[in-house]
């Protein structure tokens, strides 16, 4: 994203807006936010705090969206409309684990 011109970034943001509006209208979108590229990592019983970015992570998580889908296949189909692929990005689709006790 940071290598794009302001014009290109605006066009890209417009694609996100269009996609999310469409998901919103269909009742698919629940919510989600983009995340900054750096942060803090807190690890273990001693709660050790280290600064990001997380060099060992192959891909930095750039954001998340929560959507409604009947199963993983439908969610994957929905994800194919994501504008992240325009910039050759990737995403991961994972169902929410129900914590039935």
């Amino acid at each position: 994203m940071q290598h794009q011109s302001p014009e290109g970034m605006q066009a890209q943001m417009q694609k996100w807006a269009n996609w999310m509006t469409e998901l919103g209208k269909k009742g698919i979108m629940v919510g989600g936010e983009p995340l900054q590229m750096s942060g803090k990592q807190v690890t273990g019983a001693k709660k050790v705090v280290t600064d990001g970015p997380f060099a060992e992570a192959k891909e930095v998580v750039g954001g998340y969206l929560v959507i409604n889908a009947k199963d993983i296949n439908e969610a994957v189909e929905i994800s194919k409309g994501c504008p992240i692929f325009d910039v050759d990005g990737m995403l991961e689709v994972r169902p929410i684990q129900k914590m039935d006790m």
């Binding site: 417009q14 807006a17 999310m20 509006t21 979108m29 989600g32 936010e33 983009p34 954001g63 969206l65």
Partner: protein, 421 residues
């Protein structure tokens, strides 16, 4: 010098405020929802104050409009990021405003030219909701869509600031309690609600054309705002009605005389003495075009008759060539539809042209309710002057003098008083 440049900034901001404030309030209200209109107005107010503070100490930005929009957008985004505001927003944009993925892009998009027009149309209709009295509808439109201050609205209504302030407060209470929205009216309410919008634009135009504000008789920008909103209505097939075109014709005819109504000292030049070669031919022609379009339906509206009166004046070669009989018939038709003291006053002036000043005096003195009106007393004084009773004329002109705060009007009446000696 410093004062002079500050005055310059104030003048530009005042012009920009009226021109852009209405657009920004419409767009921001579209974003926040009608019930949160006060937040939209606060942001616009803050933006204007910020512009004044920033601009008066430095150079004006190359594109003041873009500066205003950018500042307003940033303030809107800041406000939405505060959780309590986020949860108050409940419209078709909610999903975009809730996520940082789309928040800024969505706000940007709403400031595009097409979206601004759409927001203004929605706002025009929302202001004219049937829950509001006609006065409240007009007041809200002038305040939000046209950028008029409470003071300016109160003089347009011949009312006071306290009354207008209270009216606006009650209107906003109603928006919240009835949860009114910026949705377009349904097909069945389209015509009646467009009519209310037109009435408001008519009032706005008059506020600019016959402004009662001292030192600024002609507020060309107000007239332009009214015309701009009226043109906006003709651009949408749903609101492009015959009466919309009739009103636009009326505005074109009136505004074609703009440059001849004041002399180079800023003093009033009466219709009789205006240099007709300086009337704006283009606008008269535009008026004739809209007048033709307004005749394409079977409906006759007050605006048709008023535009016809203006058309007779605009298309007359000289004052002497004016078809006064035609104008009198049109005034009679207008009064037959609805009695209006200002129309009746104008009719008396026409009577003066056709039947002489004595007959006009008789009719003017039979009128009730305008004794405290500056124009009434000026017209009556003029008729006494023409009838040869200068003592009585002088006395009435002096009364008129006490009823205006406008420098240009004061100067005109002073000239009249001098001619009584």
């Amino acid at each position: 010098m410093a004062t002079e440049s500050n005055n310059e900034v104030n003048k530009i901001v005042d012009h920009l405020f009226r021109h852009e404030a209405g657009k920004m309030v419409a767009v921001l209200t579209r974003i926040f929802g009608f019930k949160n209109i006060e937040q939209a107005e606060d942001i616009v107010q803050d933006t204007i104050i910020r512009a004044l503070e920033t601009w008066k100490f430095g150079k004006l930005p190359a594109n003041p409009q873009a500066w205003l929009y950018r500042t307003a957008k940033n303030k809107a985004i800041d406000l939405i990021r505060r959780e309590q505001v986020k949860h108050k927003i409940d419209n078709d944009l909610t999903i975009l405003l809730r996520s940082e993925y789309t928040l800024s892009a969505a706000i940007n998009e709403m400031f595009n030219e097409n979206e601004i027009k759409d927001s203004q149309l929605r706002m025009m209709f929302a202001c004219c909701h049937s829950s509001f009295t006609p006065e409240a509808q007009i007041t809200l439109m002038l305040k939000t869509l046209c950028g008029l201050s409470v003071k300016e609205i109160s003089s347009a209504f011949l009312s006071n600031e306290e009354t207008i302030g209270k009216r606006l407060y009650r209107t906003k209470e109603k928006i919240r309690s009835e949860n009114l929205t910026l949705d377009y009216p349904g097909a069945d309410a389209m015509v009646s609600r467009t009519d209310t919008v037109l009435k408001t634009l008519y009032l706005l135009f008059n506020e600019g054309y016959n402004s009662s504000h001292p030192e600024k008789l002609i507020r060309e920008d107000l007239c332009e705002e009214a015309m701009r909103l009226c043109i906006l209505l003709t651009e949408n097939p749903k609101t492009n009605l015959v009466q919309t075109n009739a009103l636009l014709a009326l505005m074109c005819y009136h505004i074609s005389r703009f440059n001849t109504r004041l002399d180079d000292k800023g003093f009033i030049v009466l219709l009789k003495d205006q240099d007709r070669t300086q009337w704006n031919k283009f606008l008269v022609d535009r008026g004739n075009v809209y007048m033709e379009r307004s005749a394409e339906g079977g409906v006759i509206h007050d605006f048709h008759i008023e535009a016809a009166i203006a058309s007779v004046h605009a298309n007359a070669a000289s004052y002497e060539d004016t078809n006064w009989q035609m104008i009198l018939q049109l005034y009679d038709a207008l009064l037959q539809r609805t009695y209006n003291p200002v129309v009746a006053l104008n009719r008396c002036v026409v009577i003066g042209e056709i039947e002489g000043p004595e007959q006009a005096i008789t009719q003017l003195e039979a009128m009730k309710g305008l004794e405290g009106n500056c124009y009434y007393n000026t017209a009556l004084g003029e008729m006494y002057l023409r009838a040869g009773d200068s003592a009585k004329a002088k006395q009435i002109f002096n009364k008129a003098l006490s009823l205006t705060s406008s420098h240009a009007e004061t100067e005109l009446i002073m000239r009249k008083i001098k001619s009584c000696n």
